[in-house]
Every structure is written in structure tokens, then in C-alpha cells.
Amino acid sequence: MSTKRLTPDQLFGQGFYQDAEVIRIQKSSLPRLTATSTNTAQSLLISLILLAAGNFSGYLENESGEVLRSESNQPLEFDNSSLYEFLVIRFWQAVPQKKYGLRVIIHTFLIELFASAEIGYDTPIEADDL
């Protein structure tokens, strides 16, 4: 099977712009984010990761964004992860914990980068390696 690259628009959403100096992401393309002029950095980062993760797995939706369901009302899932050569983002786990006496839930995603096997085990994979 031949693998593919993701386009910048797939990863960063419709209206994505880049030139030699900057990238610009349209907030209206970021899922479940209420765009304001003062969004927190954390809101933006999470929405970016959710947007990118949607390329690899999720639920099939119709044109109006409703999740399609089977006759037994199960949502129809898809997994495209093996299609993309250099990057996969997958939901890993949700773990309830107590931190500083407070009950919290921690959702963890794994961002997986794939680069040349010539790169040493102890050398981090950098943007340019992809």
C-alpha cells in the first residue's frame, strides 16, 4: 500500500496560509472553539490537535456534521492511520486522578512522528526530518 502526506489544509484547516515567514490559521476552522480576540493559548492548541487528530480516526459524519449510526445505533467509526506516512495522532487514554486533592480527568493523545530509520535512537525527530 502506498502512503501519503497530509496537506497543510488537512492539518490546520480551511483557509490556512503560509509564506516563507509565517503560518496563519483561521479560527473558524478550529473545531469546538469559540473564536474571540483573546482565546487562551491552551484552547487554541487543544483545538489544533483535535482538528489534526480527526484526519486519522473518528466517526463518519453526514454533510451537516451529524454522526452516522448503524441499525443498532452504534456510531460508525473510521481509522485512516495507516494511510499517512510521517504523522499519526491517536487518542490514547482518559484517566481519572487526584491531583493536589482535586479530582481531575486527564485525556492523553499520542503524537507519533515517523522519520528515516537512519536517525539514531537517542536523536529526537525534528520538523525537518519529516
Partner: protein, 106 residues
């Protein structure tokens, strides 16, 4: 204190109501070109955010709810080709509003 746009996306990052703009020069490990590919840019943004959103910084900032964990490094085979793989865990933490353990509910 909420981490700022500049702490997470780099000192040159700005936002307005419609968009967020990030300087390629702020993205580590990226050689800026007019047409960088999507994976490079995404890895650059992630590697930038990891610099500030550490577990050590969270320990002194209750408003920091995102942390990046330690990278797992390995060699893997995908579609019959060998790759070096880095798995970068990113944790989103929020308050769990479910009630505590209530014996009557079991």
C-alpha cells in the same frame, strides 16, 4: 496565569478574533520555506509548545492544564518499511465533576 500565546506558540505569535499567526522562525527544527509541508509545520508547532508546557511548569501553575510527557523512541515497521518513531504524549487535564465514590450507587 494562563500560558500566553507567545509562551506556547513562540515570541512572534499573535492572534485576533479571526486567526492566529505564528512565525516560522519560532518553530524549532524547521527550515522555513515558502511551502513547508504540513507534517513539518505540525511537528514544529508541537515541538515549540513542548518547550513551555512541561510538567515542571505545571507544578507551579494551576492554570496550566496541558502537559507534554516524555517522548517514547523506537524503531517500527509500517507498510513493510522501517522508520524511526517518536511518540509524544500530550495530556489535557480538567476537573472531574463526577461525584466521589458513593457506596449506595453500587
Amino acid at each position: 496565569m494562563q500560558p500566553t500565546i507567545q509562551q506556547v506558540f513562540g515570541p512572534g505569535a499573535t492572534q485576533d478574533a479571526d486567526s492566529i499567526t505564528i512565525l516560522k522562525a519560532d518553530l524549532p527544527g524547521l527550515t522555513a520555506a515558502a511551502n513547508n509541508n504540513g507534517e513539518q509545520l505540525f511537528a514544529g508547532v508541537v515541538n515549540r509548545a513542548r518547550i513551555y508546557l512541561t510538567e515542571a511548569n505545571q507544578a507551579s501553575n494551576p492554570d496550566q492544564s496541558i502537559t507534554f510527557g516524555e517522548t517514547f523512541s523506537s524503531f517500527v515497521s509500517r507498510n513493510s518499511q522501517n522508520y524511526r518513531q517518536n511518540q509524544v504524549p500530550v495530556n489535557f487535564q480538567k476537573l472531574d465533576t463526577d461525584a466521589d465514590i458513593e457506596p449506595d450507587e453500587y
